[in-house]
Subunit: 187 residues, 2 copies
Amino acid sequence: MAAPLHVSFLGDDRGEWRVVRQEAVVGEDLAPVARVAIEEGAEPQTRRNGAEAWILRGVTGHQRYVERREAEALRAVQAGLGRAEATCAALIPIRKSSAWWELAQDERRAIFEERSQHIAATLRYLPAIARRLHHARELGEPFDFITWFELAPVDVPRFDELVGLLRATEEWRYVEREVDLRLMREQ
Amino acid sequence: MAAPLHVSFLGDDRGEWRVVRQEAVVGEDLAPVARVAIEEGAEPQTRRNGAEAWILRGVTGHQRYVERREAEALRAVQAGLGRAEATCAALIPIRKSSAWWELAQDERRAIFEERSQHIAATLRYLPAIARRLHHARELGEPFDFITWFELAPVDVPRFDELVGLLRATEEWRYVEREVDLRLMREQ
């Protein structure tokens, strides 16, 4: 696993990804934006001169709940970001409640996988849907996690099925804020 | 559990804690300093005008390996920081190897507790030794963890026994950098 990678998502009017839908699933929405830019590095470039409506920061890291056999299964099927055919994307920041963070590791794992099947349910949708998880809670951000997904237009219905499955789980009862942005790549 | 707390440890010549010993246990040492100051908040105050030799930043967070029964056991015995009699302290930043971070959650947990008894061995030393763990890896810091300990002078030999136990574990084979600073409070 590579070193943690800092990533910023900038909501503005000039990014590579055009917003085609934005929905506050639970809790407060983000300010509506026309486009999203993605920047890697510890500090986002200030090339937008403050013109962005918001910046969401996160950092990739080691896996918190995935066990060895699951890691191997994921590795065998998952696709990378940047596939030419994956012109659709989703940016889904979520925040979980303090009740979630007060749980012990074994309690969180039991909800995450044994009862909500977060990994097992997701596996069936890979490699069509590539994703990268960014942790944000300990960066002092308004969300705990930011997940970025990339997929081909033909796989959008399967992606909707996947997020619908996850939102019906016991794990998702702990989600107190979630925004769902759908995007298309436009150079 | 409270929200994550950002903490900075500033090595300089004016902090409240006087350094009485500094040792590079594994890997590169930190620049020697006379004192250490501790500041809470997302950004350290710049009141030292860059006079500090180093600043180590970390953030408290939810527990990564502790299970419910262990959390209850810890809660029952652990002491808080700031006890009047706890005039001795230790600041121990460590970095683990990429081999550690490439392990899956179940593999790390097995090494951490089932084989190294990090929690079970530590419990016997509480409440004499108060401690707070700060995560630093995903802040882009040179260390992965920074642990701060406070104890009374009479408990220094027991603290030495505790760190000796931990350094002999399988878990510690993954530690590739560790510095051990011992300090005394001097208002």
